[in-house]
């Protein structure tokens, strides 16, 4: 595949002082644009056997139903030509409805839910579509500054169809009042690029009286994909 340079402002700023830990962790030199055939034309193969029965239903992993608002999240993973990224591994992880992660270092004074780990994984289908059922995550405080609260979000990790398409990002929910105060969200200078991280409420994806639906399409970098299987 071919990877055009990303326009300025679309990626977050690697050193963004209001997000404090970027100051010593973000590379200071611009990334070096290089040609590497293997990076842009090969990728790992993830067997469908890796996907376990409840990996796509995060509300079905415990002994009973987790607390909180059950939702369904779906969307398509596309490349820059608009072609579906098929059979591609995608991981998600998130905190529970109370804003607490299943993680030993999370000290937020909110309850864990024994019926909710908050992680899943799946493969995109032939149309590049993914779909999973979960609980709407809560906002939570973090130590970056006084009254620092993260807008509710779900982490996405995508492996694409070629190695160079790898992407980790966060999906947000519409109309979150915390957007203006969150340095992680604000670290993306381009307003349109930032807003593409916000999912869309979808009545079409809403399932009867069971759960509300949210749609989040993802565009990975790369053009001129070689058709699979040739």
């Amino acid at each position: 595949m071919q990877f055009d340079a990303v326009e300025p402002g679309v990626y977050p700023e690697l050193i963004y002082p209001t997000y404090k830990s970027t100051v010593s962790r973000g590379p200071t030199q611009a990334p070096l644009r290089i040609r590497a055939e293997a990076a842009t034309n090969t990728n790992l193969f993830a067997s469908p056997k890796l996907i376990l029965p409840h990996d796509m239903d995060l509300t079905a992993q415990g002994k009973s139903a987790p607390l909180g608002e059950k939702i369904v999240v779906t969307g398509r993973v596309l490349d820059e030509d608009g072609k579906p990224v098929r059979n591609s591994l995608l991981e998600v992880w998130q905190c529970n409805a109370a804003g607490r992660y299943w993680h030993k270092r999370d000290q937020h004074d909110a309850p864990l839910d024994p019926n909710f780990t908050g992680f899943g994984k799946m493969l995109t289908d032939d149309n590049g579509r993914y779909r999973f059922v979960t609980i709407k995550p809560g906002p939570y405080p973090w130590g970056n500054h006084h009254k620092a609260w993260r807008p509710a979000h779900i982490h996405f990790s995508m492996f694409g169809n070629v190695y160079a398409q790898r992407l980790v990002t966060q999906m947000y929910f519409p109309n979150d009042p915390l957007f203006d105060f969150d340095p992680i969200f604000q670290s993306v200078p381009d307003v349109a690029a930032r807003e593409r991280l916000i999912s869309r409420f979808s009545l079409e994806e809403t399932v009867d009286d069971k759960m509300l639906g949210y749609e989040f399409d993802i565009v990975l970098r790369g053009r001129n994909a070689t058709p699979m299987g040739i």
Partner: protein, 172 residues
């Protein structure tokens, strides 16, 4: 052309439990081919070890030799309390000369976009002809080259900043 790509966000401090499946899946290498180990540490701009970073490898030359794996040619490792990490790499005698033994992706809290880099071995006789290294300014190539140790393993550190800042790539 206006790019509509989805931008990146940090993995944050809490992926460990969610990412563990792939750590466990790739920890044990099942291959008859020769193995080497690359060990290193990841440091921030103050020289402090980063204890919540992650590294993944893609090893296209090794993948055909690991057909018993659920994900051949792939590893995922978290950094330890001392910033340390280690990869076991299957060596392919058919590997391209001067190619990296592993393409490496780096993730961390405070790293708003993952970074791509690669590992080359210092005793690769074709290093001088490497198509990739020859695209890197000579003064910075050193940051991509793992050094052989007395115990046979290779040492390779990741420096996010500073005089020895690792070369990070954006692929064309």
């Amino acid at each position: 052309m206006t790019s509509k790509i989805t931008t990146s966000q940090t993995i944050g401090p809490f992926p460990h439990e969610a990412w563990r499946w792939a750590v466990e899946l790739t920890a044990k290498v099942d291959s008859a081919a020769p193995q080497i180990t690359v060990k290193g540490c990841i440091f921030d701009g103050n020289g402090e070890a980063i204890n919540d970073a992650w590294a993944e490898t893609w090893m296209p030359d090794s993948a055909p030799l690991e057909s018993a794996h659920a994900i051949p040619g792939y590893r995922r490792v978290p950094s330890g309390d001392d910033g340390g990490f280690a990869f076991q790499i299957t060596r392919s005698e058919h590997a391209g000369k001067g190619d990296p033994v592993a393409y490496v992706t780096v993730f961390a809290r405070g790293l708003v976009k993952h970074q791509f880099t690669a590992i080359f071995l210092e005793d690769d006789p074709a290093l001088a002809e490497s198509a990739i290294l020859n695209q890197v300014p000579a003064a910075r190539r050193e940051t991509l080259i793992a050094r052989k140790q007395a115990d046979g393993s290779y040492a390779w550190n990741i420096n996010m900043q500073g005089a020895a800042e690792t070369v990070f790539f954006d692929y064309i």
